[in-house]
Structures are given as C-alpha cells and as structure tokens.
C-alpha cells in the first residue's frame, strides 16, 4: 500500500526495509510480496521527475574520461520511482563466465560466486525485464537460443577468437510504472514516496543496523526500524549513504577496511575502430540495429573477444556494436582500403567460385571492462545538499591496462578480419590518445564490492555487509568486476537471488 503521510518523529516497525525504489528495490518488494513478510520500501523521489529531487544528486565528478564532468552525476541517473530504469536503453545481457573468475592479469578479480550461481536466477530476471524465457533453448537452438540460420549470419565462425553474442532488448521496462501499482495493492508492502534516507544508524559497535533516519516530503523526520535492511540506491548513493552514516564509526557503516566507495567502475565507451566489412546487408544490420527474431524477440548482435581469447591474450572483457556510416561520410582512405579488401576478396572468391559481396563502413563502438582500481572512488564532498547530507565526490579513473586492452583487442580484431578476408580495420586508439571520443556508459559499478574476505570487499557472497549482521546491499555496486555487459540484467539476477536469501533468513 502507498503510505501517504508519516507524522514527524514517528518510529515505524517493519520486517524488511528496502532503501531505494529502483529496479532492485521494487523487484525485491515484488518478489517477497507472497512471503508473509512486511516490506517497507523507501523511495527518495516521487512518482515523476522533479527538479528539487534530482538536485540532490548534484556533486563533484572528475576522472579520466568525463567530457560532461559533474553533469555525469545527474544525467546518468534519475531520482524518482523506478530510478534509472526510467531512462535505460533496455539492453540485457548477463555477465560472462570469465567475468567471475580470478584472472592473474586482472588485479582484484574474482567473485565469490560463479556464473552458474547466477544463471539459476536468469529466467526470473528475464521475467522482470520482460524479455521472455532466457535460458530455455528450443529444438535447433544453441545454449543462447541461436538457430542455425542465425549462426550462418555471424561475422565470425566459432573458434576464431571473436564471437557474436546477443543482447536481449527489454521494452524497456520502467520498473516504477510496471511494478509499483501492484505493490500499492499488496497488503504487506508499505511504499513511501519522497522518503529520503539520510542516515543508517547502527548500534554503537556498528554490528547491527537499528534504524534508518528518513526525511519525508514535507521535511518531517522519522525512523524506520526493521529486522533487516537492504540498501538499493545505486553504486554512488549506496557508498555515499554508508560513508555519511558515521555516527559511531568515523569511516561510516561497513567501512572498517576503508573499502566503501572504492573500486568505482563504469564501462568506457568509445569508437575504437573504423571497419570496412564486405558482407551481406542482413549480416551487417544485426550488429547495427535491433532486429526481430522469428520468435518475435528483439535482439542486437554484438562482437566480443570470447572468453578463451581473453584468457590467452590477457585481455579485459569488451563488446562492440557497429554504427554504419554512409560511404560519403567515410574517412580518408576508407574507400581505397575497401577497394583493396574487395580486390583480395574477389581473388579468393574467384577460386571458390563465389560472387564478391558488397562492403559496408562502420564505427566499432566498444564498451570495455576496466580493472578494479581502489583509487577510482566515491567520496564525500565538502558541500552538503538540502537535506544536510554531504554531496558525492566521484573520481572515476581509468588506467593504462584499460587502454592497452582496448588497443590490443582492436589489433586482434584487425588481424582476424584480415586473415579471414572479412574486412579491414582502422585503429582509432593509440598510446598517445588512448581515449578519443570516450565517455562513460552510465553503468555505475563497484563501491561495495563482493568478496568473501572483508579486507577485499564490503559485502559477502550473499550481499550482506561484512561485520553488519542485518544489512544487505543490492545492485551493481556489489560487482567485484564489471565485465562489459550492460549491468541491469545481472543485477536483476543478483536481486532475485538476494530476495530468496532474505526470504530464507527472515522466515526461518
């Protein structure tokens, strides 16, 4: 039910208090609606966009590639019911198995759970994102649900080091519009709007959360006590709230090892290469636009170095889509290189008695993984917001290994295209200019990373904050490494898993 008003100085009691009404918070409340538990969901914003609410996201942002600087904090997220799903693209793809592995060439890599652990929750995550059954291949399909006809259209055959994979396109589901109405009807759910949590208050030892301090829409302050709390406000706000909750411990809640806010990651996104690809139109377009599969599902094809190539070449994960370019807009030499490529393709085709194909120009738009970096972090700024909370200070840093991996991946792609006569590639990155035209992907990752070891992570494998018995964290802030996939799908799988875990803990 929707809680319209709360008196000032009230103390509300509930079983589970979820802070944040975005994809994670709404999903947890929905998943536990039949549990018999009373769930209180506190959303800082209202039903729709509001300038005053959004202004609470203002802060200082700096970093290696932030062309829009501090605007990153306000343009990359939305502070109202449904959170950033109100402006997401709907791209769903799980993290890859290699993302979970400890990798000798990636410092601080390795999750305490495996890809298989999360895959068990993928179908329910897919339901939440409204992309249909995800891991239930039909006859004639491979494990990704790809048919032989679709495989025939791939740029790279299996075993070439690069592979085509599919992004599944959500409508995109706006979680507030889609799921809040049923929560408002649910008897055991208490939905508070314009309810900003400004402090997590623990016992004096910091080992258990007693309540959260809330500022309501009319400025009234109240407390919510609960048996368990879930922090689900996104990677920047999760860190900010934990750091700012320093009543008993100077570093904030769950921060005895000075890890909260560190290891902030995003996916640097850039035009890493320009490619000439002699292929059929239908092959090319699946990488450049959403296409409808025979099942009616919307998908987009991406190119990625497969897990094995990443291991052998010590690459970071990445994926690329294509942006087709009209020939007249192609850069210098592109048409000449196209002619050279086609000459050679023709020589090869002649011997195979095949008709030469048309060629297309495109930018390879790459989203890359970054190495977890403790100095890339969310901190508390010097200024405070209208609610008296320190504003966030984000320092998003990329390193040399991140840049080198992009260059190396594109060089390997150039080699594959060349020897297979599948095209030619122009590198748009080099050592002198490693991040031309790069931006972030608005994927906020890390800051409360997952590890079994409290010295290496803020939360454990169950997403519970180390050293705090009744506080869990949801969302991509728990990602130990970021992979290259858009994070929403995997964070939903994590959310389903967390909801199951909480159900077990609280109904025992």
């Amino acid at each position: 039910m929707l809680i319209e008003t709360v008196e000032s100085k009230s103390v509300l009691e509930t079983d589970l208090c979820v802070v944040g009404g975005g994809a994670v918070g709404l999903s947890i409340a929905r998943l536990l609606a039949d549990s018999g538990l009373e769930v209180t969901l506190l959303e800082g914003g209202g039903r729709t966009y509001d300038e005053a609410s959004q202004e609470l996201y203002v802060g200082l942002a700096e970093g290696t590639v932030l062309p829009y600087k501090s605007a990153y904090l306000t343009t990359s997220r939305l502070r109202y019911l449904g959170g950033s799903t109100n402006h997401w693209q709907g791209w769903c793809r799980p993290l890859d198995p290699v993302d979970f592995e400890p990798r000798s060439w990636v410092p601080e890599s390795g999750w305490p759970i495996t890809a298989e652990t999360l895959q068990a929750y993928d179908d329910r995550a897919a339901e939440l994102a409204e992309i249909g059954p995800f891991r239930a291949p039909q006859a004639g399909q491979d494990e990704e649900g790809t048919t032989a006809r679709e495989r025939w259209r791939r740029l790279f055959p299996p075993g070439t080091g690069f592979e085509t994979s599919l992004i599944h396109i959500s409508p995109p589901t706006k979680f507030g519009e889609r799921y809040a109405p049923e929560l408002e009807r649910a008897e055991d759910c208490r939905l508070h709007l314009n309810a900003s949590v400004v402090e997590i208050v623990t016992d004096e030892h910091g080992g258990r959360v007693e309540h959260v301090e809330v500022v309501g829409g009319d400025g009234q302050r109240y407390k919510v006590r609960a048996r368990a709390f879930v922090l689900a406000t996104g990677a920047i706000e999760n860190a900010r709230l934990l750091l700012a909750s320093n009543r008993h411990e100077a570093g904030g809640v769950g921060n005895r090892n000075d890890l909260v806010g560190r290891y902030y990651m995003d996916h640097p996104f850039l035009d890493a290469a320009f490619v000439v690809l002699p292929h059929r139109r239908r092959v090319m377009h699946q990488y450049a636009q959403d296409i409808e599969r025979p099942s009616g599902e919307q998908v987009r094809a991406i190119i990625r170095p497969d897990d094995e190539l990443q291991r052998t070449e010590k690459l970071l994960n990445s994926l690329a889509v294509l942006q087709l370019v009209e020939p007249r807009d192609a850069p210098d030499l592109a048409r000449d290189v196209k002619a050279i490529s086609q000459d050679l393709t023709e020589l090869v085709s002649r011997s195979k008695d095949e008709t030469p194909r048309a060629a297309y120009f495109a930018f390879a738009r790459l989203a890359g993984e970054q190495v977890p970096n403790p100095d890339s972090r969310v901190m508390l700024g010097d200024e405070t917001d209208a609610l008296g909370m320190p504003r966030p200070h984000l320092d998003w840093r990329l390193g040399e290994q991140d840049a080198e991996s992009v260059r190396r991946t594109m060089s390997l792609l150039a080699a594959r295209l060349g020897w297979s006569f599948r095209g030619r590639l122009r590198l748009l990155v080099n050592a002198e200019d490693p991040w031309p035209n790069a931006t972030g992907s608005n994927h906020h990752l890390g800051t409360t990373r997952m590890s079994d070891d409290p010295r290496r992570g803020v939360v454990d494998a169950d997403c519970r904050v180390h050293g705090v018995s009744n506080l869990w964290v949801g969302g991509s802030s728990v990602f130990a490494t970021g992979g290259a996939s858009n994070p929403t799908f995997s964070l939903l799988s994590l959310t389903v898993r967390l909801a199951e875990h909480l159900r077990g803990v609280l109904t025992r």
């Binding site: 048409r335 000449d336 020589l347 002649r350 011997s351 060089s411 080699a415 020897w419």
Partner: protein, 150 residues
C-alpha cells in the same frame, strides 16, 4: 603488432616455410632478370631509380589487382611516411621473397593465389603495417607502394 593466433587453424597454408620461400624467390628473381635481359637485349640502366626491368616486373605484379588506383593512393600515403623499405627494387625483392612466386615460370593465377595466401599469413603472423591507422598486411602495403611507383 605481434598477433599470433594459437587457436586458429590457418587455412590453405602449404607446408613450405618462410626460409624455403626466400631461397626460391631470390633465385627466381635473378633468373627472371636474366631472362628479361636475354629477351630485350642489352639494356642501359639509368644512373639512379628503378631499372626498366624492375618497373616492368612491378607492373606485372600489380596487374593482378583489379583496382589499381586505390592501391596507388594507399601506396602514396605509405611512402609519404618515409618508410624504411620504399624503393621499387627493394619492395619487389621483399615481395617475391615472401610470395615464393617465380616470375620467370609463374602464371598470373599462381601469383593471385600466392598473394592471397601471403596476405592471410601476414595477418596471422602479425606482419602488418599501419597506414593512417589502417591495419594492412605487409604484402598489401608492398604491392600498394609498388603500384604508386610504376
């Protein structure tokens, strides 16, 4: 760039190694020059620049390329970068050495086959050159540079 592709079976590659090709190509080019000289009679070579024989051989090499203008433009850009290997004769020597194609006895069809095989192999072994960022095989670039000068 040093791309090795350990997991990829290199298709259509013969068993002959690079050292064999170099030996065969070196001998073949000398034999070709001798045959050209015999056919054309005594030729006075200019004091500098490529010989007529080299130019003729260069033109013969690029005849297999359907779109000569594109190759020439790429070659011109490459040559503007002051590369270590730029003279027609040196380029032809390197090319024939890599191709293992005998100008005196080889046919155009055989040359086409050898060019495509060598381009594959260049990419496979990382013998690539960047021209304005374009990653091209060494063989492609040599052909382009020859095309720009003959």
């Amino acid at each position: 760039m040093s791309d090795d592709l350990p997991r990829v079976d290199f298709p259509e590659e013969g068993s002959r190694g690079p050292s064999d090709e170099s030996r065969i190509a070196g001998v073949s080019r000398r034999r070709f020059m001798a045959s050209v000289g015999t056919l054309a009679g005594l030729v006075l070579l200019p004091a500098c620049g490529p010989s007529q024989e080299s130019l003729a051989l260069g033109r013969r090499l690029i005849e297999v390329l359907p779109t000569g203008d594109a190759w020439r433009r790429v070659g011109e850009i490459y040559l503007q970068s002051d590369p270590p290997e730029s003279g027609v004769e040196a380029l032809i020597d390197s090319l024939l050495s890599d191709l293992g194609w005998d100008p005196a006895a080889g046919t155009a069809e055989e040359l086409e086959t050898q060019v495509t095989k060598r381009v594959r192999r260049d990419f496979h072994e990382g013998h690539t050159v960047e021209v304005q960022g374009w990653v091209l095989s060494a063989t492609e670039v040599r052909l382009a540079a020859i095309a720009a000068q003959v």
